[in-house]
Amino acid sequence: MTDIKLVYFAWVRERVGVAEEIIDVPENILTVAALAAWLSQRDEGYASAFENPKLVRAAIDRVHAKPQDVIAGAREIAFFPPMTGG
């Protein structure tokens, strides 16, 4: 198990119910997509947040990441909807 800080924004944050948390992620969770799938099984809130994986974006250590990106070594992983700034 590895401690990773997870942070959530916008409606992903609202559905998960927390803005950030430290979670022990099993060693067999290798990618961003696998992490999202694993999180969605935690409870209804997570399930709702990740129900449509295409609508959830991620960043590893504050850099945009793709679903297939490997999370090994990450200290902070963020999940959020497509951005609407500017």
Partner: protein
């Protein structure tokens, strides 16, 4: 060319006029300044406010990355990007982007590139508060914005 870069992620209101002046002063080699200001709209009276949430730390880093990219593409003497977070009312400025260069085509292109980028890659999210007092939805990202960013062939 050394580019003077200003990036601010702030809750405070900005003064577009002062920011525009700061782009040139005291240089005498700037021929062209292009600026863009994005405002909170009432959407025909439907909205009372927008709340902008952001990812502290990543917002600065990501904007810095695209400003650096702009600097490799165009010869810019100054670039300023100011992006606000928090609650905005209709008419309030949300974002300011300004670019200074010797010639206008470069200033325009860099300014539009920066805005297209900010829309699709800067970690900010808008939530609507309706004029009738209810909390609205999170604003959905637009396919238009992805298309606009794709014009520049951004590596994603």
């Amino acid at each position: 060319m050394t580019t003077r870069i200003t990036i601010c992620i702030q809750a405070e209101v900005f003064d577009a006029g002062k920011e525009t002046e700061a782009l040139t002063s005291p240089r005498e080699d700037v021929g062209a300044v292009a600026t863009f200001i994005g405002y909170c709209r009432s959407e025909g009276g439907r909205l009372k406010a927008l709340e902008l949430e952001h990812y502290p730390g990543m917002a600065e880093d990501e904007i810095k990355r695209v400003v650096d990219e702009a600097c490799t593409r165009w010869p810019l003497s100054s670039v300023s990007v100011i992006h606000r977070y928090g609650v905005m009312k209709p008419g309030d400025g949300i974002v300011f982007v300004g670019t200074a260069s010797t010639h206008r085509a470069q200033a325009f292109a860099a300014c539009e590139f920066l805005m297209d980028y900010l829309k699709t890659r800067a970690p900010f999210w808008k939530k609507e508060y309706r004029a009738d007092g209810t909390v609205g939805d999170w604003v959905e990202a637009k396919a238009d914005d992805d298309a606009a960013a794709a014009r520049w062939a951004l590596k994603s």
